[in-house]
């Protein structure tokens, strides 16, 4: 089926597909602008996400899940803020902020003490995708200091920087299991992004996916048993879940347009995702199937 | 009617007299092929309309009218386009209208229900019944270039491409032994099967048709017509075990046929070159093919996987000939750029320029331990296959040397020229034995000695 052809028939078909999932899929926004990196806070009552607000500004907004009203997270922000993360208790927030031409700073804000900490690295690279350990002991993030992009950790005051991974290729999107013992992430040493898990200290690495196209943005579920992620394995960006060991892969969305950026609702039964529909990007809530279309590891 | 080649006219006329239903493949396809396809084919598709298969010819173009609607002349856009008085709309655009007889055929065929009598999805060129070619001239009035040449199995016969024929000569005395007719207008390559029983002839008429004819070498009986295309076929080579035949055509395709009991069926088609494929050759294990193309590249293909293995783009002119090095890891190629190059299959990089000739060079005959190469510098060459060292030069051609063949039994070399003359050489010392015009009945007024230097 070809979405791009301009015949009514195609849209009819597309409608059917969307309808097939509509029982489990709820739109949260309808404005259509380019969104990214949603994350739940306040026990699932609020969703924070990044949005292309102007052609020259990405900023964070927060969406009230009850009223579906959205407002800027920082009213006065006038610089790009991307890849926001919150600590489990809501005390810390961290994100990457554009500070100048092709430069970014990685900030950890202690909301309780109202202090900002900045992570410093040599070089002008940019940090990516921070994740807080459940016990607020460290923030793990991805950064390329020289050569391959590795995972690093710092404490809440941006001190005690440690390099967690020592692998080839590009590593990205670390996510902690709730017990803080395991980190799942993606790495490209096998030619494209595959999902791995490892112990929080960087040992005991296991490869969870195996195919020739990307498996990205793994996020551990609130009960620590599952991983939601995005994959192109059927030719389109779709969201999947699998067990923590990589088994039992289930397809959550099935669309020829993009479904991406899965994030777990604290209830562990739903995911918020960004879906492109008819060229517009909006946030949706989808149910995680307990069973369903199971795909193999490949 | 002079504009139409004889065989087409013959087909068309015979049907009109017999009152048979009009046949799409016999009657209309030839017209669509020659009159329409160059603008409405896979390459151009003007007005978004194509005629290269039956279904496409029936389909709508940009005008949103079907090409043909059975029993409905008014809703047959092609018929309207053929017959309208509006010069801007009439087809063929910028040419004379079709003859009234041809138009009548279309009309009758539509009225008879526009049936299709060919294989679904097949190209026009391949559904037209193989032509019965006109007779060759009894005597050749002018000389034609000879580019197809092959020794018979025992060396007693030399097969030479003629005009609508293969002529068979006694290489020892230059006497005409027999003539095999019903061949395409010009032959571009002849290959004898390893068991000596079959002849494959790549032939065609420039701009009109191409085909590869399979003949019984002993009696010239036609066995099959393969690889039919809208322009000439340029090469045909049997696999080392004789069960397969690779062909090279001006449509940029390499086709591989295999023998299935009595029939030869298509096994694989390689669509990778963007221009004429001038030559094709087999690796000694029969698993790979090397090709030479006017697109200035040579390529190697793997037969089983159907994949291109490598592209060699080190030539600056049309590549004309290819041969595998005995190590199976390298390939020789010749080109209009005057080079004989040796390059590696592994990475498509040149091993070395083996030789730079004084002019463009043609196909390579790889035989035993030698490479035989003919050149526009009027010399034929022999190189050792293994080292690529020159062994011999065969001088004496009065014009471009176009093709060369080797009789390993009698240790003789024959080469042919643009002037229609065959030269026979002794392999051991490269001494000229004799030469003759391989053109039946051609009378030379001038003395046979053509001293050039």
């Amino acid at each position: 089926m070809n979405f791009y052809s301009f015949t009514g028939g195609c849209f009819f078909l597309l409608g059917l597909i969307t309808a097939g999932f509509s029982s489990a899929k709820t739109p949260l926004t309808t404005d259509g602008s380019n969104k990214r990196d949603p994350v739940f806070i306040a026990g699932g009552a609020t969703l924070v996400y990044g949005v292309d607000e102007n052609r020259d500004l990405i900023r964070l907004r927060q969406l009230d899940l009850d009223t579906l009203e959205s407002k800027p997270y920082y009213e006065s922000a006038n610089r790009h803020h991307v890849e926001v993360a919150f600590s489990r208790d809501g005390r810390y927030i961290s994100y990457t902020e554009c500070t100048g031409n092709l430069t970014a700073q990685f900030v950890i804000k202690d909301l309780q003490e109202k202090k900002d900490f900045f992570v410093k690295h040599s070089g002008r690279g940019g940090t990516r995708s921070p994740a807080f350990a459940p016990d607020n002991s460290v923030v793990v993030y991805a950064f390329a200091e020289k050569g391959p992009q590795q995972l690093w950790s710092v404490d809440m005051e941006a001190k005690n920087k440690k390099q967690l991974t020592q692998c080839e290729g590009i590593s990205n999107w670390p996510s902690f299991t709730p017990d803080g013992k395991t980190i799942v992430f993606s790495n490209t040493r096998e030619n494209n992004y595959e999902i791995y898990s490892m112990d929080a200290n960087g040992s005991n690495e296991k490869r969870l996916t195996e195919n020739t196209i990307m498996d990205i943005r793994p996020v551990a579920s609130p009960n620590g048993k599952q991983i939601a992620f995005t994959s192109l394995r059927n030719g389109f960006y779709n969201v999947y879940v699998m067990n923590l060991d990589g088994a039992n892969v289930r397809q959550v969305t099935d669309s020829e347009e993009r479904d991406d950026y899965p994030t777990w609702h604290p209830d562990g039964r739903r995911l918020a995702i960004v879906s492109e529909r008819k060229g517009k990007f909006d946030l949706y809530m989808v149910d995680v199937p307990t069973s369903g279309k199971v795909t193999t590891k490949r | 009617m002079r504009r139409f080649f004889t065989f087409l006219s013959a087909c068309i006329l015979s049907h009109q007299f017999h009152g048979d239903p009009v046949s799409f493949s016999k009657d209309l396809a030839p017209i669509l092929l020659t009159k329409c396809q160059s603008c409405h084919g896979p390459k151009k598709a003007k007005g978004k309309y194509r005629v290269d298969t039956f279904l496409r010819a029936m389909d709508k173009g940009a005008s949103d009218q079907p090409g043909f609607t059975p029993r409905n002349l008014d809703e047959s856009e092609v018929y309207y386009r053929l017959t309208t008085d509006d010069k801007d709309e009439r087809m063929p655009s910028e040419g004379d209208p079709l003859s009234s007889k041809q138009i009548a055929l279309f009309k009758r065929w539509i009225e008879e229900g526009s049936t299709f009598d060919g294989e679904q999805g097949a190209s026009l060129a391949s559904i037209i019944p193989p032509p019965v070619h006109p007779r060759s001239p009894e005597k050749y009035s002018l000389r034609i270039p000879i580019q197809a040449l092959a020794y018979g199995a025992d060396g007693n016969e030399l097969f030479v491409g003629g005009y609508h024929e293969i002529t068979v000569w006694n290489p020892k005395d230059g006497k005409l032994l027999r003539r095999i007719g019903n061949i395409g207008q010009r032959s571009y390559a002849i290959d004898l099967s390893p068991n000596g029983r079959l002849l494959a002839v790549a032939c065609g008429a420039p701009g009109l048709y191409g085909e590869v004819r399979l003949l019984d070498a002993s009696n010239g009986k036609l066995i099959d017509v393969l690889a039919r295309t809208p322009d000439v076929a340029l090469d045909a080579r049997f696999a080392p075990d004789g069960t397969k035949l690779a062909t090279a055509s001006t449509d940029g395709r390499i086709r591989v046929f295999e023998q299935r009991e009595q029939e030869w069926g298509i096994l694989k088609t390689f669509v990778n070159h963007s221009d004429w494929v001038n030559a094709v050759t087999w690796s000694s294990d029969g698993k790979r093919l090397a090709s030479a193309s006017r697109d200035k590249t040579a390529k190697v293909f793997d037969l089983e996987s159907g994949k291109r293995v490598v592209t060699f783009s080190g030539h600056s002119g049309s590549v004309n000939g290819v041969a595998f090095h005995p190590d199976g890891k390298q390939v020789y190629s010749t080109s209009d750029d005057k080079l004989l190059a040796l390059w590696k299959i592994e990475d498509g990089k040149k091993s070395r320029d083996v030789h730079r000739f004084g002019a463009g060079v043609h196909k390579i005959l790889s035989s035993g331990e030698s490479l035989f190469i003919s050149s526009n510098d009027k010399i034929a060459y022999e190189y050792s296959l293994q080292e690529g060292r020159q062994r011999n030069q065969f001088t004496g051609h009065g014009d471009w040397a176009l093709s060369i063949t080797f009789d390993s039994l009698n240790k003789l070399v024959a080469s042919s020229g643009f002037d229609g003359r065959i030269h026979i050489w002794n392999h051991a010392d490269a001494k000229a034995i004799h030469s003759f015009f391989a053109l039946p009945g051609y009378e030379l007024v001038e003395p046979t000695e053509i001293s050039l230097e």
Binding site: - | R2, R3, F4, F5, T34, K35, C36, Q37, S38, C39, P92, S93, E94, G95, D96, P137, Y140, S141, L142, R143, I144, P145, Q147, Y163, Q185, Y188, A205, P206, G207, L208, V232, R294, G398, D399, W400, L402, F418, D419, Y442, L444, V445, E446, I450, L452
Partner: protein
């Protein structure tokens, strides 16, 4: 690559007896391929050919073509056994679909000729006599009167072996104007409308042209014309008479005043000047005005600017310092009425520092000898010779040899940038030759008509060229300048485009051009004198309004062609009417746009960069080439938008201290303000209707200032203002 074809001596023996072949490849087959368009630049004559078939452009390389036709792709194009089945014939007859369309008819003369050549075995003798002369009958120029609008031409070629033959069917005929006359491939000319054409006949490398005038008397035609003032009028009227284009009436004083100011100074007359002139009752006031304008500095500045356009006078090309010096030099040349031959010699032979000898900037702006030659040819010979660089000019007499022969004059001229990057030193090295790109031979300096020069090594080549160029007998030099001046004043050249002299682009009035050139030479190349004669003529003072008989004349000067004001004229005019002249970078305030030495003077004030846009959008040239085509005259949306909604014009209109606002503040009566607006913009008093409309608009408005802005806008957007008419 040299190809030898010994075999050709044998090939034709099959059908014909030994001896001279019946068909000549060089003299017949190639001309046919050229005539049918096969070897033209857009078809197989393109540098890479078409459809893998490449012929030399217009068959200038016979040996390459014989190779291509006979041998390439293993002889695929020729079928010796059945000649009519040769691809060479099947394609152009569309027996096989041919992207180039049908070019040959089966059994036509051309078809048979090619077929017979194949039948003979494609003979291409290596040595064939060269065509040395082409004669057209009837030759010269011809006048055809309705209804006799047909003329059969014939062409005869003479060859180097002394033989000659009729080549009418082999030669290519082209018309310079299909609207006036068409010509068949067989040389039959048929007039379509009254007017004048050149029919160009080309055979091999020879080119000839004839001029034909078609005269037809329209129904109800009456001839009425003012009596001639000088020889210019005589020649113009003679032509108009033949073509039955009666001239439009002479212009009023106000139109004359506006026109002559714009043409001689680039500026509009001020309101006070208009009042004075219109009230002046003397009979020869127009001539007096002409004299005084020609003596004014404004004239010298404006006409120097025209040369600045042609000589690439820009900061980018000559450097900031030299801009002013070169501009001054040009202005002085005009102001002192330097004779034109002197002027040309100065430019062409200048040596030394570009700052001390500003005329040396002419050489400085050229990139190399070829560019210097191309610029010189275009400026002083009126020839765009570039095409001949790569191949013989297909429509002109210029050959590749000529191109490099002319270049040889500049081959020894060297330039060097001195310490200060703005200064360039020009000298003659007394060594350096031009190599022909094909033959690789050195070519001696060469000029048309005289031929090659043998110069001793120490001779200054540019000097020799300048001497040849400025000789009174030079057929190009005076005509090109005369025509350039004529075009400046009349809006259109006698040859048009005015710097494009060639056989295919004949002058619309040859006797006029000849007479002007003769006069110019005799006056000692006195430019001011020539201008004076032209602007005093009735031809110049003819109205822009056409009449029923001359409406479709665009070339013969029966009425004036309105021209939109040049970018600089417009800016100055807007500034004058509003009293808010534009300020330009790099020059003192009040310097007019038409007096700017260069278009790209440095703008230090960033906020003003946008203002320059106005000039550029209206077509001020960048002065990067010597082509007159840089000054874009096309009407564009961007230009119109500038007038409706452009910052510059709007700021002039809305300025608190504009002329009309000052008058308003001074409580001048509205009628007087309206009158002054008309005088300063249209050089005339408003008529009663205009006055009434304007006053009504102003009176009903509450904000008079804004209403005046509107009125001013409306007047300045009238074509009567925007055009020089």
């Amino acid at each position: 690559m040299k190809i030898i074809y010994p075999v050709f001596f044998l090939l034709f023996l099959g059908l014909t007896c030994a001896g001279k072949p019946k068909i000549s490849f060089n003299h017949e087959v190639l001309p046919i391929l050229s005539k049918q368009g096969c070897s033209q630049g857009s078809c197989h004559g393109a540098p890479h050919g078409k459809g893998h078939f490449r012929l030399s452009l217009r068959a200038f390389d016979p040996s390459l073509d014989s190779h291509t036709i006979f041998r390439e792709e293993l002889g695929r194009r020729i079928n010796p056994i059945e000649p009519s089945k040769s691809l060479l014939l099947l394609k152009p007859t569309m027996a096989i679909a041919h992207e180039g369309g049908q070019r040959l008819k089966v059994d036509s003369f051309e078809y048979n000729l090619i077929r017979d050549w194949i039948r003979e075995g494609c003979p291409t003798p290596e040595e064939e006599a060269k065509c040395v002369k082409l004669e057209i009958q009837p030759g010269g120029s011809k006048l055809l009167k309705w209804p006799e609008f047909n003329l059969q031409l014939s062409a005869r070629a003479t060859f180097s072996d002394g033989s000659s033959r009729d080549v009418t069917r082999l030669a290519v005929f082209t018309t310079s104007d299909e609207n006036v006359a068409v010509v068949t491939p067989a040389g039959k000319v048929t007039g379509q409308n009254r007017g004048q054409v050149a029919i160009l006949v080309r055979y091999l490398e020879q080119v000839q042209s004839i001029r034909i005038t078609f005269s037809r008397k329209p129904e109800g035609f009456t001839w009425k014309a003012p009596s001639p003032v000088n020889y210019i009028d005589e020649k113009v009227l003679a032509k108009l008479r033949i073509l039955h284009y009666p001239p439009s009436p002479l212009i009023s004083d106000s139109t004359f005043l506006r026109r002559i100011h714009l043409d001689l100074t680039g500026l509009l007359p001020k309101a006070a000047v208009v009042r004075t002139f219109l009230s002046d009752k003397t009979t020869d006031k127009r001539s007096e005005l002409i004299d005084s304008l020609l003596d004014s500095p404004d004239y010298a500045k404006y006409w120097a600017r025209k040369w600045g356009d042609l000589l690439r006078l820009s900061r980018k090309q000559v450097g900031e310092g030299a801009v002013y010096k070169f501009a001054d030099w040009l202005e002085r040349s005009i102001a002192t009425n330097q004779s034109y031959d002197d002027f040309a010699r100065d430019l062409l032979t200048a040596k030394g520092s570009s700052l001390l000898n500003p005329e040396a900037n002419f050489i400085r702006t050229t990139i190399n000898a070829e560019d210097a030659m191309e610029s010189t040819s275009q400026l002083f010979l009126g020839s765009r010779i570039q095409c001949a660089k790569c191949h013989n000019h297909p429509f002109e007499r210029w050959t590749q040899d000529n191109y490099y022969g002319l270049t040889a004059f500049f081959a020894q001229t060297k330039t060097k940038k001195l310490g200060k990057s703005e200064e360039t030193f020009v000298w003659d090295a007394k060594e350096g030759e031009v190599r022909h790109p094909v033959t690789g031979k050195h070519l001696p300096p060469w000029v048309p008509d005289t031929g090659a020069f043998e110069l001793p090594p120490d001779k200054d080549r540019r000097q020799v060229f300048a001497e040849w160029l400025t000789k009174p007998s030079n057929p190009f030099f005076a005509k090109v300048e005369v025509n350039r001046i004529w075009a400046s004043l009349m809006g259109i050249g006698i040859v048009e485009p005015f710097d494009d002299f060639r056989d295919t682009n004949p002058p619309s009035n040859q006797p006029l051009l000849e007479a002007l050139a003769k006069d110019f030479v005799q006056s000692g190349f006195n430019r001011r004198d020539l201008i004076r004669k032209i602007v005093n003529s009735n031809a110049y003072q003819t109205s822009a309004e056409s009449n029923e008989f001359n409406r479709d004349d665009t070339r013969f000067f029966s009425f004036r062609q309105p021209r939109r004001l040049e970018a600089e004229q417009l800016v100055d005019a807007l500034g004058q009417v509003t009293g808010k002249p534009m300020k330009f970078p790099g020059v003192p305030n009040k310097v007019k746009a038409v007096h700017l030495p260069a278009p790209d003077l440095a703008q230090k004030n960033r906020s003003m960069i946008g203002d320059i846009e106005f000039l550029k959008v209206f077509g001020q040239p960048e002065r990067q080439t010597v082509c007159s085509c840089e000054r874009a005259g096309d009407a564009g949306l961007g230009q119109a938008l500038q007038l409706f909604n452009g910052k510059l014009f709007n700021s002039m209109l809305t300025a608190g201290d504009s002329l009309f606002r000052k008058s308003l503040s001074a409580k001048k009566p509205l009628s007087e303000i309206v009158e002054n607006l008309h005088l300063s913009s249209l050089s005339r008093f408003p008529n009663e209707k205009e006055k009434a409309i304007a006053l009504a608009y102003l009176e009903k408005a509450t904000d008079k200032g804004k209403a005046l802005e509107d009125l001013c806008w409306a007047i300045l957007n009238r074509n009567e203002f925007l055009f020089n008419h």
